[in-house]
Amino acid sequence: MSGRQALRLLVDTWRGRFGLAVLGLTVFVAIFGNVIAPYDPTASSLDVLQPPSFDHWLGTTESGEDVFSQLLVGTRTSVVIGFAAALISALLGSAVGIASGYFGGWTDRILDSFENWFLVIPTLPLMIVLARLLDPSLWVLVAVIGLTSWAGTGRIVRAQVMTLRERAFVERARALGASDFYIIKTHVLPNTLPLIFANTVLIIAVAILSEAALSFLGLGDPSRISWGSMLENAFGSGAPSAGAWWYVIPPGLCITVLVLAVTLIGFLYEEIINPRLILDRES
């Protein structure tokens, strides 16, 4: 899969177009959210838990803040954590997967059992423990999510590299005296990259959901608004029992639509690599 093919896929399928549109809009809001927000998202007022009106398009929170502004400003937290954590996870997962699959032997045994442990240990409780022990901030969350979600990528990369290692062009390079570093750089990595890419896109979804869950449980960065922390505040202040749908629905819907967009793009690339997973007829 070349870069051009990868791009074509995004433009030619409805899932690609949907994903691209949502991602584009989200990134735009993540960058300019503070500027477009009609109100200061933390400015409280006496209009407490008001339903949507002309002044407040999505109503107000339990302390009279503007829900729409919080939603716009909170986008950045979700996007930054989602992308940065997925990047860490991809780097770590590919490094471990390539080392383990390429070198085999004891390297593989040690790294593989390490991977197994991380696959088995339930991720959210591990994230909770880490986030509770370290004081939560944006970058602590990025590190915690990135460091706990790489094992799946490692496993998939390892399997791919193990088959690559036996292929004729790699053996030829080795026979000609190419160094391990050279073989990994010119033969192994380019052939593993599409797989890593598809997997990383899916990890973004996992990271966004993890950030939201941690923030919802009160382990988010207290100085930042995020969709998860909005849900935490809404739930904690009893907005559901007050019937404040305008406060409860938007943050969750934003998470859902963004995760859906990322997941659909991820599936799209996974299908190219593994046609058995095809989701619908057009692709």
């Binding site: 442990w117 088995v120 409780p125 423990v129 509770r132 959901l209 919802f216 019937g243």
Partner: protein
Amino acid sequence: MNARWLSGKVAAAVFTLLFVIVFNFFLFRVMGDPTEQLARLPRATPEEIDKLRGQYGLDRPLMGQFADYMGDTARLDLGTSQRSRRDVVDEIWDALPWTLLLVGTGTLIATLLGTWMGVKAATRRGKKTDDALLGFNLFTYASPEYWIGILLILVFAVWLPILPSGLQVTPGAQFNSAFAEILDVAKHLILPATAMTLMLLGQYFLIMRSSMVDILTEDFITVKRATGMRWDRVVNRHAVPNALLPLVTLSAIQFGSVVAGAITIETIFSWPGLGELTFQAINDKDFPVLQGTFLIFSFGVILANLLADCLYFYLDPRVQSK
């Protein structure tokens, strides 16, 4: 069953559990400074803190503490909750049945419903039924389960107040029969179990659907059709049993997210299980409880993986012959 294969799997599971126990110690003792937790005690003077440190063995060298910890864990002594002053093991023991009830109900319904939907979608691939099922399941797959829970509360407990919004029984209620009590618990179970089901449903559906689509294109299905066998019989007797295999592996992998769902969904519905216990421990910085629930969650996932491996072995003759 192949005894050697089984003992290998059991040994691997025990080894993983040992790793988790050791990891648990270093995670809490090395990363989190226990004296900081003690200092949170109201009005504790430095002398009192020193005394407490002695009492908990925190002034001893790390390896000595580690030996104590391993001994305690082996005797199932997981320490005392800082909030309730009760043994952590007792707290976990009280909460476990509630979590098992919620998780069991949710998983069971999600498996049945997901399988059924997956079969329906795969046999009507590309038609309206398929599109609708796919859309619905992708949506629930992408949405946070606690948000779905909040929406369920909003609709069924606030707008149409027909179901309770939380807890496991009506507070203060007197029941004149065991049946009435079970009925009350069941009523409280509906919403959290629905949230749990919707969280797991998408995964099961997607795997079952692609597995079925795959099987339906295989030669033996065409042969069965050619013999004149009725189509629904071909599907139910020959395609579905074969398509079920990936689902077994999936249910093990899913167990991690089941645990995550238990934490957030129980929090939403004040369901008194392990998840709610974890949530309270997060808020109170109650590290012994947090450590205990982390251990029991890991244990649960390891056990589920082992069981799924055994089930897979039992179901798939190809694995047995190797």
